[in-house]
Every structure is written in C-alpha cells, then in structure tokens.
Symmetry: C2
Subunit: 530 residues, 2 copies
C-alpha cells in the first residue's frame, strides 16, 4: 500500500457557497455524522466569524462524539494593522472550540495590494501572528494559501514566502489553493514538485472545477507528493464547484492503492453520497462518476452483450466495490438481450427469437415514439410486458374522477381536492380527498377508494414526482412526461406516464404504480405459499 | 499560436448512448447545423449499420451544405472469417455516402479472444481489409482503437500492432480510445508519448468520464502530442459520458493558444451548448465549466466585494469571451454589496447603510426561511424590493379562481379547465380557459382576463416550469417551490413561488411574472417618452 493521504471535506463551508445550497443546523449535524462514518479525516464545518448560524452549530456539535473525523473551524488571517487580540474574527475562531483550525491567507501579491489594500510585508505579518497565536492556544493549523497557483505564476518568490512564514509560525499543513480553478494539470505538477522541494512538509491542495479539472488536478497533486486533499463530498461549491471527493476517493483507493481511512468504508461510498445530496437538496447528476445512477448503466446493444459475457469489457471497476450497481437501460437502441432480460424476470422460458420479444419490442418503440422513456421505470416496463404477453388483468375500473383547485371568493385558504368513482368486482366505491395540489389529492383519493378492496395499499406512498415538458420549443401541443417513485417502506419502484395533460400523465403513472405493487404482493404470497 | 488541433464531435453517435437521449431526425439535423456553425471539424453522425433511422438521416443530410465540418459515418471492422464484400455493415457504411468514415476495431487482445471470439491474427486482418477496402472507395479513414489503453497495459505489443496495421492500410488518424474511462492522466501521457514515438502520425484520443478525468486526459493527450480530440459537445454519452468538448475547447483555445477552427466562433460557445442541450432534452448542469449558468456566479459576500473591485480576483477568464455572463446570487450568505446592487437597479440613490437595505435583507431572509430561493429569480427579487421600499401597486385584484381536471363518466377525453374572476380599476372580468393541466389552464385564464386591460400581455408565454418538493424526507407538510420562466419574445425572466399546494405556489410565481412584465413595459415607455 502507498502512503497515507488525508481527506478534508468542506461541504459545510466552501460547499455552502454553491448555488442552491442552504444548510439548516439539523442538516449540518446529519452531514457531519455521515462524513465521520465514512472516514473523512477533517470536516471543515463553517466560518464562525461571518455567520451566527455557524457559531451556534459549533456549540451543538461539541456534544457529538466522532470516530474518524476532526472538526475544523475556518477563518481568515487577522485584519491588517491591528493587534491580534483586538481581532473579533480570531476570537470567534477560538470560541468555536475545535482542535483544528484552517486559516486562509493571501499568497498572490496582486490580491494583497488590490483587494486587501495592504503591504506585502504586513500580509506576511498577518499570517505569522495568526498562526503563532492559534498555536499558543494549542490548535492544529491548516494554512490555506489562497490563489497560490496564480500567485506562483505572477510572483513566485512572494508566493513561496507566504508558505515559509506559515511553516515557521507552526502550520501543520500547507494547502495550495487553485481558488479560481484556472490551473492546468501540468502546472499543478510542476508547482507541487517545486514547493515540496523547497518546503518539504505536509502539502495539500484545494482545487476548483472551473476548467473541469478539479479531480484530475487533485490526483496529479498526490502523484507529485501532496498528502492532503481538500474538496466537497459531492462536488458542490461556488461557480463550477470544488473537487468532488466521491470521485477522488475511489480513484486513490481502488486504482492507486493509497492508504485512506475511507478504504475501510469504501462500499458505503454510493449510499453516503446519495444521502448527502438528499440532505443538501441537490439533484445528483445520474452521470456522476462511480456513484451516479447511470455510472454503470449500459444502453448500446453490443455493449450489453459484451457485459453479459465479461463485465470488465465495458466497466472500469466492479460497481459493487463502491456500493453502486449495474443497470441495463431499455430503449429504442436496446438490443434483444436487454429486452429479453426484462421479459425473463417474469417469463423465464421465453426464447430470444420468440414472438413475445418482437411484440414487446414493437410496443416499447411505439410508446417511446409517443414520448415515453423507460430508463429506470421498472414498474411500467413490467406492466407493459405483462399486458403484451399475458398474465395481466386490471385491478379496478375507473368510472370518473375530478380534481378541483380553488382560491375561494373570500380569499381564505386555498384548497385542492379530488373525487373519484371506481368499480372493483362489481362493487362501486366513490370517495374524495384533499391534498397539496391536484395530483397529490388524486393519489390520496384513489388509494382511499382502493384500500377498501386492497388494504395492503395503506403502506404505499409517493417519494418522488418529476415532471418533464417534452418538445419545449413548441408552444402548443407540448406533451408532459411524469415519472413517479413509490415505496411501501421496504421496496421502491418507478413508473411513467405521458400525456398532453399533466394530470392525466400523472394518473397513468399512478395506476401503474399501484398495479405493480398489487402484482408484487400476489407474487410474494404465492412464493411463500407454494 | 500553437499547432492545429482537430475537434471531433460524437454527440449523435456515442452521445446517443447516454441515458435519456433519443434524437429525432429533425433533432439530428439541427445539431449538425449548430456544430458546423461553431466550427467543429468532424461530426460523427451515426451508425448506418445498426440503426435504420441513422441511414435515413444520412440521405437527408446530403442536401445540406456545411461550411466547417465533415460528416462522418461510424461502423465496425468487417466480421470475422467473411469476405468484406459480403459484410452488410460495410456496405451500409458505403451507402451512407460520407467522405469520412470512422472504423472501430479491437486493440485489446482479451476483447478479441473473449468477446469477438476470434484469433488475434484474424482481428488484424479485419482491420487491414476494412481500411484498405474503404480507402479504395476514396474514404478518409479515422481508426478508433477501442480499449487501446487497457489493451496497451495488458498486451502492449498486440495493441501497437493493431495501430501499425491500420496505419499501413491507410488510416488517416489513429484514435486511442479509453473506452471504459479507467485510465489515469499519467498513464495517458506515457502511452501517448510512446505511441507517437513508434507510429508518428496524426494521433487522436477518445476519452470517457468514468473517473471524472475525460477532460483532463484529453488536454494532457494534446500536451503529449495528440492532434485530434474526440468528445461530445455537452459531454453526453454512455455511463458517465464522453469528454465534454464545451470544456476542452475553451481551455485549448483561450488558455493554451492552440489553433482550432472554433477559435473564430468561441464567443458563441455558451449559446451553442445551451441550444444543443435544449435539442437533446438534457438539463445542462448549472455548474458546468465555462458554459453553465453558475460558472461565473458569485455568492460569498467577500468574493462579490473583490469581484466588484477586480474581476480576475475570483474569475479565471472573462465570461464574455465565451458568451457567458457574471451573476451575483442573492442569498442568506449574500453580503450587503449583492443586495445593494439589486436595489440600485431600481433605486440608484439608496445608500449602503440605509434602512432600505436592512428592510430588504430582512424580508429576503424571512422568505428564504419559508423555502424561497431567489438565485436566478430576478422578477421576484425586483418585486420584493419594490414592495418593501415603495414604487409598487398591484395591477389587479383576485376575487376567485378554480381549476378543474376531469376524467368524464363516459371515459371520453380528459380535460383541464380554470375559471377566474378579477377586478382592475373597479371593473370586474370573469373568464375561463382550457389547458394542458391546471397550471397551464390557470395561466391562460389569468392572461385572458388581464389582456382586456393590458393588451401587451398577449405576447407573454411560459417557457419553463420547474417544481421542487422541499423537505422531501417528510411525508406530510412538504412544501413545493415553483420556478417559472416567461418570455415576451424579446426578453425572458424568472419568478418563484412557495406554498404547501403546487397550484398556489404556481399562482404566486405567475402573478409576479405578469406584474414584472407590466412594470418593465411602463419603464420602457417612460424612458422612450422623457
């Protein structure tokens, strides 16, 4: 095994600068626990100087025991031309009461002159005073050399002198920041090698993704000798984001054999990343390396044939190593193998060249032409196969439904209601329900009516609801595709509906969702009985 | 200027393997035109062998004149153990009638034996025969050495021998494919340098993003001597996608000074990428380098202060070079500068420490606490500032509305309707409209009623409608946030609404959208008059 690499997560600090990110105190605690569990070495949890919410957080988090991680409070060097004891920000850092503090200082002479508006000499004093003072309070210090690479290119001697001062003052790690994300991999390599030669202590990097290079630059920095990598777990951060740790970690661990604490928990990588994105209210891109829903999804017929023979033919690692899984996407470019595989889940004896495969393929293509998309909609695929090949009968008959949204005349509270009339085995049931919008009301009314006949539906609920407007360029005749995800507490499944009207598209997906659940229950009971 | 680099786009071929991608013939023609306009050298437009839709496309595209691009048809080497004249796929390639053909062949001995199930020798013959035959038909040949890097690691001599055969048979470019996306930057560099030393002709690379390295690997390949880069314009492709050309191009052009045809059109980069994502029906990630909506968005107060002083302090390039723009995000971590900047758009004389700034900040924070998010919702921000500081009066009074979605008793066509009653200047207007769902119907009814008083609303329409479920973990009491984008043909603007009920949240955003338009029209008229 290669040398030890420290992983430093800044989701709660630099990540909070990302568009759409806003953490509650509760969110922050959940994320700290998740990062600790997976084995992150340092968790930069906020800036107690600038944000009162962060200060409150540091009080709360003290009562929580962490196994793998050290908490870090973040702040700047002292202000120019004042005594450190009079700097309120530095006092807030002390009050945050963490064992580790990260301090950022300017290392680009341009920034010192034009943004800080002070002298190059005073900036060095600010770095020195701040680190010495915090060391005297027994803090472990991570020094973030802001804009280091830009500074190095413009004024190498000065950039290096900021590191030397920080080292002499007692900094434990010197972190070279590519703050603007504009540094090329080869530059990273050359600068790292030179810095390590001159300073020879624990060097880290902090990369941003403005050229799509944050991950590669971090990896190249490790090859060049860095032993401390900063980023955010799912890559959130200002502008194009920070280096994505969920991509860097498996590469360092599985491909390059470095010694990481996360190595012991690497098979939780996917679930932790998805959990953190849930808490962050960030829609994780399906194509995210390693952890994305499509990271091991295969669509081309030829590729799927090869994967079935030998997974390594189109997969760079076994998805199970990091807790992800392989998926075959059903689509119009799907080969027979994919469709046959879906059919075999229900009808194991169907032959590859049978009529059934042709009929299902034809039906799939027709619906795709109408705007359907079956990738990920396993519930609708199964029902389509059953409806085409057999082993399907409807569980109820719809007679009528109506949804009403009303802002009353007296402008009192707005309401959404739905009423529905269905027949099951000759018995008719009429009911109504209120909901948060027409689809939610309709879902509730339908399940209320059906629960009379199928009580097992009581545990089913919608967990996700996505609407996609198709042909968005045309103003008239646009269709919508609704994808819903349902759960019964144990399993979750997705179904899809397409229509000109969003309520009807939702209805189609809702009915599939419920029928899929009822079929699965019958299967389970049959399996348990026979 | 450095040497010439060829850019090869495979959006329509390898990109079509991406999850959620399905191009119509019309889409393909639009994308070819866009890629030609921006100056892509080669457009790989499909695989005429496997897909009848692709063959039809090649017939249609022949009638379209391209200025910068050469169209490429894609196919495999001939099948094992048959005469090339009997290979239907090769004949389809000829029938596609393009001047350039890209041929993929196996260069990983494992794949030859286990997937192709043929001998290493026969695979070399397949490469030789196919290229020689197509050369005899006067085609320019791009040879894609599939799995080259994996092959090189396992059986270097064989991998190199596939390239040698291709070169001797007359291939114009040899493309080294990292098909599984598992090759590290340093490996790319070493392999490229060795291949170029041995073969010394035009070498290309084709990288996949399974380790988040496709962009960096392509750039490193160019530094190591490659002169032909394959990818897809917005990075779509199987699993984690292909190398993203919209990231690679500006880096090669603006940062490394290479000679690209795209250099002449680089300021169209952002609009072209957004157009192609529209056509592909792919939601472009806001954080995409260079072209994303947030690529130059600043949120941290300190950063915004610095950017106002000196843009280069937190931007690696001027966003206007590639047709993007700088944005300041209004949020709870926004400093006074950001909020003041928004206020100054309407009230230029407000002072930084004035009461107005405090009141607007307070209101923003309250609404953010309720689930609002103002990033990108310029319409709602302006109205909020006006409502807080003054210069606002409502344009109408809502008395009542009702939306009805109905699946009729006879199961004939589903319908969504809305009725509305409003008052403007003491006059009451009641009207109704049908729509594709309740919100669409309500939007139409509201505008129909208001057009009686404000005919300028006739040109307004919704272009985008996004629903986000907040607190998705809790099953009850979840709120929804609706973001709508409207246009009047000249300008577009976004507004936001939050409520427990999706229809009410939509209503809030709709009203803001309409009032914003009416205020802008008054401003324009006033400016023209005085």
């Amino acid at each position: 095994m290669n040398r030890r690499i420290e992983i430093f997560d800044s989701t709660l600090r630099d990540g909070a600068q990302g568009q759409g990110i806003s953490f509650s105190l509760e969110d922050k605690v959940k994320i700290v626990k998740a990062l600790d569990e997976i084995g992150i070495d340092y968790i930069e949890a906020g800036n107690p100087c600038s944000n009162p919410k962060d200060m409150e957080f540091f009080k709360i988090i003290k009562n929580i025991n962490l196994t793998n991680s050290k908490l870090v409070a973040f702040g700047a060097t002292r202000k120019p031309e004042i005594n450190i004891l009079n700097d309120e920000n530095i006092q807030s850092l002390i009050n945050a009461d963490t064992n580790v503090v990260s301090i950022f200082g300017k290392s680009w002479s341009f920034q010192v002159r034009e943004i800080l508006k002070t002298t190059l000499e005073e900036n060095l004093n600010m770095i020195k005073d701040t680190i010495e003072y915090l060391k005297s309070k027994n803090k472990e210090i991570i020094f973030d050399a802001e804009h280091f690479f830009d500074g190095f290119k413009e004024d190498k001697e000065y950039a290096l002198s900021t590191l030397k001062v920080a080292k002499e003052a007692g900094a434990n790690v010197l972190v070279l920041c590519d703050t603007n994300g504009g540094t090329l991999p080869t530059e990273i390599k050359n600068v790292l090698e030179e810095v390590i030669k001159v300073l020879g202590i624990n060097i880290g990097v902090h990369c941003h993704n403005d050229m799509g290079m944050a991950v590669a630059n971090s990896i190249i920095a490790v090859e060049a000798g860095a032993s401390h990598i900063q980023g955010t777990f799912i890559g959130v951060g200002e502008r194009c984001g920070n280096a994505n740790l969920s991509t860097i970690i498996p590469t360092l661990s599985l491909k390059m054999n470095y010694n990481l604490v996360v190595n012991n928990h690497i098979n939780d990588l996917t679930s932790k990343a998805r959990y953190i994105s849930e808490i962050s209210n960030i829609q994780l891109d399906d194509t995210t390396p390693y952890i994305g829903k499509s990271a091991f999804a295969h669509k081309g017929g030829m590729h799927i044939d090869a994967i079935c023979k030998m997974p390594k033919s189109y997969e760079h690692i076994d998805p199970e190593l990091i807790g992800n899984k392989r998926r075959f996407l059903v689509s119009e470019v799907s080969g027979k193998s994919t469709i046959l595989q879906e059919i075999h889940k229900i009808f194991p004896s169907v032959k590859k060249d049978g009529e059934e495969v042709k009929n299902v393929t034809k039906k799939l293509k027709e619906l795709e032409y109408d705007g359907y998309q079956f990738e990920g909609a396993e519930g609708t695929i199964e029902l389509l196969i059953r409806k085409t090949i057999g082993k399907y009968k409807p569980f109820f008959k719809l007679n009528h439904f109506k949804t009403i949204g009303e802002n009353p005349w007296n402008n009192s509270e707005f309401s959404s209601t739905a009423l529905i009339n269905i027949t099951v085995d000759g018995k008719t049931e009429m009911t109504a329900a209120e909901g948060d919008g027409p689809v939610n009301a309709l879902d509730k009314a339908l399940r209320k009516a059906l629960e009379v006949f199928y009580p097992e539906l009581r545990c089913v609920r919608l967990v996700d609801y996505k609407v996609r407007v198709l042909d968005s360029e045309s103003t008239t005749g646009a269709k919508v595709r609704v994808l819903i995800e349902s759960t019964d507490g144990n399993e979750s499944w997705s179904t899809v509906g397409v229509s000109k009207d969003v309520i009807q598209a939702s209805w189609i997906a809702l009915v599939d969702s419920i029928e899929y659940k009822l079929i699965k229950d019958i299967e389970r009971k049959a399996k348990a009985y026979f």
